[in-house]
């Protein structure tokens, strides 16, 4: 996902400091120091009006890093009190996955098209003829936009020869595919979680880094510190997200203190077999098409916005579901942690009783940095290799789910429809499938919320190209060893 470098770096720095503070003997004192350590007396004020606001925003980032809802913060509670609550609580799962930092949000105004004073009131009126929605009137010789009719298509902007028309943007609102972003009376962004599909686009797009995930990072480190048997279940998308080989990465994760590292690709192999059988059965009984069911963002979309599509969604469980079953059977008393590429899968983890916590790739990276673990220096860990198929390894690449499932379908022709990136256009397309109860271009529809698949989830670290390359390398290594 396209992220804004400096904004995402700042969030990572706070997470690293949070983990460092936890690793000391004096968590509560050290956590109070974080805003002051990051903006010490007399230091440069890089972003905001004054050093006090800088520190307050960092304080709010720490609160989100501890998993709390920043909107409920009263500004006078010390970070040490939040830290204490974090240490005392058990089995924490956040009620909402994200939180908006009130102080960091600059209350960008609603997205709209405006006519600036550059408008000369010309004869041509190219803006008016360009508008398909009849939203442009000429009043006192100047262009005026009727916002109730305007669809923000920007045709008038490109038509004006004087560059007199501009779009005012609220980046979070612009990227939200389901109109879940609203503003309160002060203009601060509010997320409507009844609509939100947890695509993570607002997190990645806010130039002020004001939308945070509510993290479980300290809860997980706490379980490790308390000598619990903590198992990391790594998403197949993790391959290529860190330097070194996948086997070095497994060993690096164990160095953090995880008892075992289990690949969710294992569960993907179960999903593939079940989904293939289900597909054959459903096509034979006359169902016109079936969609995949592994993307949690897509399932939220169906649940919230497109209930009519529900009968066409596969009933097969996700790779994470099957993996958690395998893990809890092998280690009944374990704490199972899903290592996730995105926020929607964190939500799925919250809803699954067999998954205790979730950690995303960036958070895992923050732990590596704080503990100074360099993956490149780790000895490869080749324990319990579970004979994972190449198809399961390629599950997180767009098109991978279709290829895997269709490969296991024996008696029917599976015709692909690949939808990756749940933007407004693709949501409209899915909606038309639901409405017409048919899919004109194929019968097996793969839906992934992120463009390019899970390897481009909102918390990924590498580019999709390099991730694909690393996955291919791992697959060919597996194949050469098995032949």
């Amino acid at each position: 996902m396209k992220t804004l470098n400096q904004a995402s770096k700042l969030k990572k720095e706070v997470l690293i400091r949070l983990v460092q503070a936890f690793l000391t003997d004096n968590f509560e004192q050290k956590i109070n120091d974080i805003p002051f350590d990051m903006r010490p007396k007399g230091s440069e004020i890089p972003f905001r009006c004054c050093i006090y606001k800088e520190r307050e925003i960092i304080r709010e980032r720490v609160i989100a890093g501890l998993g709390f809802e920043v909107g409920q913060d009263d500004e006078k509670t010390l970070l040490s009190e939040y830290a204490k609550k974090t240490i005392e609580r058990e089995n924490f799962k956040p009620s909402t996955m994200m939180t908006v930092l009130d102080t960091a949000c600059t209350a960008c105004s609603h997205s709209k098209i405006v006519v600036t004073e550059l408008c000369k009131g010309c004869i041509a009126k190219a803006c008016q003829s360009a508008c398909k929605f009849n939203a442009i009137q000429i009043i006192d010789k100047k262009t005026v936009i009727d916002n109730s009719k305007c669809k923000k298509c920007k045709m008038c902007i490109s038509a004006c020869p004087y560059n007199a028309i501009a779009k005012i943007s609220a980046p979070c609102e612009d990227v939200c595919p389901v109109d879940a972003i609203g503003k309160d009376e002060k203009g601060i962004t509010k997320i409507n979680f009844d609509k939100c599909i947890l695509c993570g686009k607002c997190i990645a797009s806010c130039p002020f880094a004001a939308v945070h995930e509510r993290s479980q990072i300290i809860d997980i480190l706490k379980e490790i510190k308390n000598k619990k048997k903590v198992i990391a279940m790594v998403a197949p998308a993790i391959v290529g997200q860190f330097p070194g080989t996948f086997f070095q990465l497994k060993s690096a994760i164990k160095q953090i203190g995880f008892y075992d590292v289990v690949e969710v690709a294992q569960g993907a192999d179960v999903t593939i077999q079940n989904e293939a059988k289900e597909f054959e059965h459903k096509m034979n009984s006359g169902q016109p098409f079936m969609t995949s069911s592994c993307c949690a963002g897509y399932l939220r979309l169906v649940e919230n916005t497109l209930p009519d599509l529900k009968p066409f969604v596969s009933d097969t469980k996700t790779p994470l579901y099957y993996t958690a079953e395998i893990v809890k059977e092998k280690y009944p008393d374990c704490v199972a942690v899903f290592i996730s590429p995105c926020i929607s899968k964190k939500y799925e983890s919250c809803k699954n009783d067999k998954v205790n916590y979730a950690l995303n790739f960036e958070e895992l990276g923050a732990i590596f940095v704080a503990k100074q673990i360099d993956v490149l220096n780790c000895q490869p860990d080749t324990d319990n290799n579970e004979n994972i198929t190449p198809h399961a390894r390629k599950f997180p690449i767009a098109g991978g789910v279709f290829k895997a499932v269709s490969n296991s379908v024996k008696n029917i022709e599976a015709k692909p429809v690949i939808i990756n990136n749940l933007d407004k256009k693709n949501i409209a397309l899915l909606s038309s499938f639901a409405k017409n109860k048919k899919c004109p271009t194929g019968n097996l529809v793969e839906v992934m919320c992120c463009q390019g698949g899970c390897i481009n989830g909102n918390a990924t670290i590498s580019t999709t190209n390099s991730a694909i390359k690393k996955i291919e390398e791992l697959v060919s290594k597996d194949e050469s060893e098995n032949s």
Partner: protein, 85 residues
């Protein structure tokens, strides 16, 4: 013969996580125009951040010949190559 400038991108875990992963790909395509006169090398940890416990905040690090660039961006690296600062 023209002098070859070496650009080393640190791919230690810290730099990788703090942005080198995406930077390396961008750099490869942007620096193509220099042909053989600029040599881009992804390298194992340059050990710059290891010296103090908060230097990670200035990652990712890149070395252009013998000069260290902190919080490296494509722009900073091109400036260094073209103007020497």
């Amino acid at each position: 013969m023209k002098k070859v400038i070496t650009v080393k991108i640190c791919l230690g875990t810290t730099c990788f996580v703090m942005g080198a992963a995406k930077l390396q790909e961008k750099l490869k395509s942007v620096l193509e125009k220099y042909g053989d006169s600029v040599d881009v090398k992804p390298v194992n940890c340059l050990n710059i951040c290891a010296n103090t416990d908060t230097q990670y905040a200035k990652a990712p690090y890149v070395m252009v010949d013998n000069d260290i660039i902190s919080e490296a961006t494509v722009e900073k690296i091109i400036n260094k190559i073209e103007k020497g600062y």
